[in-house]
């Protein structure tokens, strides 16, 4: 039975060894193994501007809701622009198409309240970015782990984006019309046509009359000059150069008298005729078109003087 002693001894020795509790701390051997397995820590990489927004739909909604709530506070207070700016900023941070569309809506409301077309352009651009993302979400290149909205919402949000752009275009047209109506110069009051009351005839007649009177004046001067020269010429003491000079003066006077008479006659006849026709026409016009009569009369008093405008309407 000695052959049984060796296996029994081996069994007896092995059992206590395997049943021993594991050491509380790592043995030097395991520490070295662990140290060999562990790699030295890498230096942290600099922040990249590449998208790192691997959100699930639930996480995205969680991130979106406080932004929407904050924007609503501004919008309810009438500050649509502040709401739009907040939504646009957060939309970029989260790459969230819903926030882009919300920003577009807020910009449109701001444009509507401020009547500002520049804000409509911002609204349209925000809506377009939202649509870019929504369209990309239906593309094969889209990273499905970046579920910023559930796939079932993409179609509805796309429709919302397109309707928003249509609404912006309608508003833009309305503002453009308003701008065109507002910026145009006020229409000039239509100039009243000159009444055909003979005023032109009277004015022309007056001019001719003045010219005729001038002619008569010239005639008178010419006659006076001629009479004076005649006297000089008839004087026996006048001879030589003095005679010739008086003779020339007489001739000049005669010429002035003839020209003056002609001009005076034509001017006076024409002028008086025109004034007469004009006066007749004015009388007729006033009978047909009774208008307010205004009269300007000079007034004088003790220590004062002036003009009085009286009228009958």
């Amino acid at each position: 039975m000695t052959w049984l002693r060796l296996p029994t001894l081996v069994l007896a020795l092995s059992l206590p060894l395997t049943s021993l509790p594991a050491p509380a701390s790592a043995s030097p051997l395991t520490s070295v193994w662990a140290a060999a397995k562990s790699k030295p820590k890498k230096k942290p990489k600099p922040a990249s501007s590449e998208p790192d927004n691997s959100l699930s739909a639930a996480e995205a909604e969680e991130a979106r809701e406080p932004v929407q709530a904050q924007a609503k506070v501004s919008a309810d207070a009438g500050d649509h622009l502040a709401a739009a700016e907040l939504l646009a900023r957060k939309a970029r941070e989260l790459s969230d198409p819903i926030l882009f569309l919300d920003a577009a809506t807020a910009y449109k409301n701001a444009a509507d309240s401020k009547r500002d077309r520049a804000l409509i352009a911002l609204a349209v651009e925000e809506a377009r970015i939202g649509l870019d993302i929504l369209n990309f979400m239906q593309d094969a290149r889209y990273d499905a782990t970046w579920e910023v909205i559930p796939a079932s919402q993409v179609s509805a949000e796309s429709s919302r984006g397109r309707e928003l752009i249509d609404a912006c275009e309608t508003l833009d047209e309305a503002l453009q019309r308003e701008s065109a109506a507002g910026s145009g110069d006020p229409p000039k009051p239509a100039r009243e046509p000159t009444p055909k009351d003979g005023r032109g005839l009277i004015a022309a007649g007056s001019v001719f009359t003045v010219v005729g009177l001038g002619g008569l004046g010239l005639m008178g001067a010419g006659i006076a000059m001629g009479v004076d020269a005649q006297k000089t010429v008839e004087d026996p003491a006048t001879y030589g150069d003095a005679f010739d000079e008086a003779d020339a003066k007489g001739k000049r006077g005669n010429m002035f008298a003839i020209i003056g008479a002609s001009v005076g006659a034509v001017g006076l006849i024409t002028g008086v005729t025109l004034i007469a026709i004009g006066a007749k026409k004015r009388k007729k016009y006033r009978e047909e078109n009774p208008v307010a009569q205004l009269r300007l009369t000079p007034t004088f008093g003790q220590g004062r003087g002036g003009l009085t405008l009286t009228g009958r309407f």
């Binding site: 590449e50 377009r128 593309d139």
Partner: protein, 133 residues
């Protein structure tokens, strides 16, 4: 008047009136893919190529070195840029930080895709891209 002067005169005239400013600054993108890499040594553009999720993960692990800076403009319109499956920004992009390596890129205006493909950028470069609308 020598030949150089004769050639330079119209250019100087155009510049003085601001006529030649835009064409000289950047030629219009005529690439069939709709995207032109105007500047950036070692930048590769593979139009219509895609990176699967697994490839993107692999690329992310490979990214080493200084970031590249991306400047992107859209000629004649607007659009948003999507990089590696996510919204990056709306054009124009100015010094947008891009890790080196391959990136899945799409530029779109609403439902219309302006350009898409894989853009590979080396570390630390400035990349100038124009996209035709």
């Amino acid at each position: 008047m020598n030949r150089a002067t004769v050639l330079l005169l119209p250019l100087a005239f155009s510049l003085s009136f601001g006529l030649a400013d835009a064409p000289l600054a950047r030629a219009a993108c005529t690439d069939g893919s709709g995207l032109c890499v105007n500047d950036g040594a070692g930048v590769k553009w593979k139009p219509d190529a895609t990176l699967s999720a697994a490839q993107l993960k692999k690329e992310e692990k490979k990214r080493k070195g200084a970031s590249a800076r991306l400047n992107l403009v859209i000629e004649g319109g607007r659009g948003s840029v999507f990089i590696d499956g996510r919204y990056a920004s709306t054009a124009p992009l100015s010094r947008y930080i891009l890790e080196p390596g391959a990136h899945d890129v799409q530029v779109r205006d609403g439902a219309r895709i302006l350009a898409e493909g894989v853009l590979t950028v080396p570390a630390g470069v400035d990349v100038e891209i124009s996209v035709r609308h």
